[in-house]
Symmetry: C2
Amino acid sequence: MILEIAQLDVKPGMEAEFEKGVAEAAPVFKRAKGCRGLSLQRSIEKPGRYRLFVEWDTLENHTVDFRGSEDFKEWRRLVGHCFQEPPYVEHTKPVNKWF
Amino acid sequence: MILEIAQLDVKPGMEAEFEKGVAEAAPVFKRAKGCRGLSLQRSIEKPGRYRLFVEWDTLENHTVDFRGSEDFKEWRRLVGHCFQEPPYVEHTKPVNKWF
């Protein structure tokens, strides 16, 4: 299991539309190959900044399967117009969860 | 509930020592006021970069209670010497977790 962490900076005033778009996109992730979790967090220090957390079975499920799919275009159609700048995406592997 | 996301860049070659230090520090977080979760992720793209996720009941449980405690010094004693640069810390609020 790997974790995709996407830093998403949203245009001022488009926060509600962005959040609605992510909610609408949830089924897109739900049906994506190897996708195991989807959650959204909003920065306290920078309220226009969000972090989308997506759990995938493998790195390639995100970078190859999802990004190469029609559903990736659907995801971008739903939220892409809200982005202030291109998303900054990282992937991580769990070391441990203590509690 | 808020989420602390700490970006921790570790000195080359000190990754194992850092991970051991976080494991040793888990009881420090476990007993901290309002602390509800602790997990560590390691970047795939930048293997010296970690993200520590700490769940707190309130922002002040982290910024006031924990940072002002003796246990914060203990945390830094256990891992501080592994840091390549000062930690970059953000706090977020959950918008939603869909699955």
